[in-house]
């Protein structure tokens, strides 16, 4: 008899209860269809509509969120598979009325026009800076390439990321 014959069988379910920590708050969602993406769960069940549903195929980056601190495409994660994980969306960046440094940099550098891609760009930029992929314009462009901007605000986005990265590396004066 092999070890395999003793292996337990995972329990398949067609509805799941999913627990997540979203923007610092523990959430429990009952009866989630396994087909639901993390993006749809955030938007439809938690009313967090910051992350956008652009292509729904992982091609545009408008749905970018942080999952356990790493940027991912929310449209390509099953909500069920995110059980127990920590999610940060663009709504979780500000502290009260105080915007995140990357959000301020996007405003100061006019880094958007229509704004549809902006929540994904901002989250991606937060991760890009944390990953230290901001040495120069080329590196920023390369590591921000997963976020498409149809208004083509790329030069301003690069400037915003560069400025936010520089601000972060300076010791805070306040």
């Amino acid at each position: 008899m092999t070890a395999l014959e003793f292996a337990t069988t995972p329990q398949f379910a067609d509805r799941l209860d999913v627990r997540l920590r979203v923007n610092g708050v523990d959430r429990q969602l009952d009866g989630v269809d396994p087909r639901v993406s993390l993006l749809d769960l955030l938007r439809e069940r938690l009313d967090l509509t910051g992350a956008k549903k652009g292509c729904n195929h992982g091609e545009c980056g408008a749905c970018t969120v942080l999952l356990d601190g790493r940027r991912v495409n929310g449209c390509l994660v099953l909500a069920a598979a995110a059980e127990g994980r920590e999610v940060v969306t663009v709504e979780g960046l500000a502290r009260g009325e105080q915007l995140h440094a990357v959000q301020r940099a996007f405003i100061e550098h006019d880094a958007f026009q229509c704004g549809f891609c902006t929540p994904g760009q901002v989250i991606s930029a937060v991760a890009c800076i944390k990953e230290d992929h901001t040495t120069d314009e080329h590196e920023i462009r390369e590591w921000m390439s997963g976020n498409i901007c149809r208004c083509s605000s790329y030069p301003q986005i690069v400037e915003a990321v560069k400025a936010a990265a520089a601000a972060e590396s300076r010791p805070t004066s306040s």
Binding site: A7, D14, L67, C128, R141
Partner: protein, 329 residues
């Protein structure tokens, strides 16, 4: 998307037992599977999430200098590994030129090799003749848009290419995939893993039902190695053609041995083994290198719209080799 049931495996044995059941599809990073489900390329009854199976997400240097990469290590983590960066730079470069930062945080090195062709007819949201989608329906690309298709190893049944960048690097490195199934396991050479259309269009690779990739093994270090990817935009795009090369230099900085593989020219990474033999003894920038690559490419049989890719392949192969040898073009 058709309804399915979901379960999370917590051990490899549990995963292997469940993966064998007909109608079960395995979920790793999800960057391919979710799109397959949306497009109807896959319509499983059960999705088995293996991402929390312990032990498959580690990179282990082995005493003999080889490296074992667990199948579930995320692409960005493979590229960031110090051993990979130092001894197998071609793999790091291929990964960094794959997809986007977000996708590489999800996609796993094992499942990256299981991605399917990017042929637009195969990926079509509407019914389109494609022998891989509907057996016997024909190949719309053969008489349609065929400008991102094969130079080698195609048949009238399918003229598509395999898009994985890491697969090209692993092919040039002579990497092996270690698999497990409920009945045991085996070691498969990367170069033998993908199935060409001449063998059949009903499968992409040699994995049997319930057989999972457990790890990828890199044998000899290849510190002089490089990856060149030619595409229509600078980043976040599939290759028109890519090339991977490794080189060992001997006396007078001449090539002792070299390996070259092309990507996006067939349904598997395409090694130029004849050229590899012919260039031994030459300097990396010797005109004889280009002659040898030309001779290898003379055996190509490009589909009509993709013939232009031959010139790109020639340049990419040469540039990868010179970059591996750290010789300026």
């Amino acid at each position: 998307m058709r309804p399915f049931a979901y379960a999370r495996a917590t051990s490899l044995d549990e995963a292997l037992a469940a993966a064998e059941e007909p109608g079960t599809t395995v979920l790793a990073g999800g960057t391919e599977l979710l799109n397959w489900l949306r497009l109807g390329i896959a319509a499983p009854d059960r999705v088995l999430d293996i991402t929390r199976v312990a032990g498959l997400d580690r990179i282990e240097p082995l005493p003999d200098g080889s490296l074992r990469i667990g199948a579930l290590v995320r692409l960005n983590d493979v590229a960031a590994d110090q051993n990979v960066a130092r001894d197998w730079p071609v793999l790091r470069e291929a990964i960094h030129k794959s997809a986007s930062a977000q996708l590489r945080n999800l996609a796993t090195i094992g499942a990256n090799l299981l991605q399917k062709t990017r042929c637009p007819y195969f990926r079509s949201e509407h019914p389109t003749p494609c022998n891989r989608r509907v057996p016997g329906s024909g190949c719309a690309a053969l008489h349609g848009h065929d400008e991102r298709h094969a130079l080698f190893g195609w048949t009238d049944d399918c003229i598509a290419t395999q898009p994985s960048d890491p697969a090209v690097a692993l092919a040039v490195l002579d990497a092996h995939l270690v698999t497990r199934s409920a009945r045991g396991g085996r070691r498969i050479a990367m170069t033998d893993f993908h199935v060409l259309p001449g063998v059949g269009v009903d499968r992409d690779n040699v994995l049997e039902r319930g057989e999972l990739i457990e790890s990828i093994e890199l044998d000899r270090p290849a510190p002089r190695s490089a990856y060149v990817k030619v595409r229509e935009r600078e980043s976040y795009e599939y290759a028109l053609v890519s090339a991977a090369a490794t080189v060992e230099l001997g006396e007078g900085e001449r090539i002792d041995s070299a390996r070259i593989a092309l990507g996006s020219v067939a349904l598997r990474p395409w090694r130029l083994t004849q050229a590899e033999r012919r260039i031994a003894g030459l300097a990396p920038d010797d005109p004889g290198v280009a002659t040898a690559i030309d001779a290898a490419l003379a055996e190509a049989r490009p589909v009509a719209g993709s013939a232009y890719k031959l010139a790109i392949a020639r340049g990419a192969a040469r540039r990868a080799l010179m970059s591996a040898a750290e010789v300026r073009p």
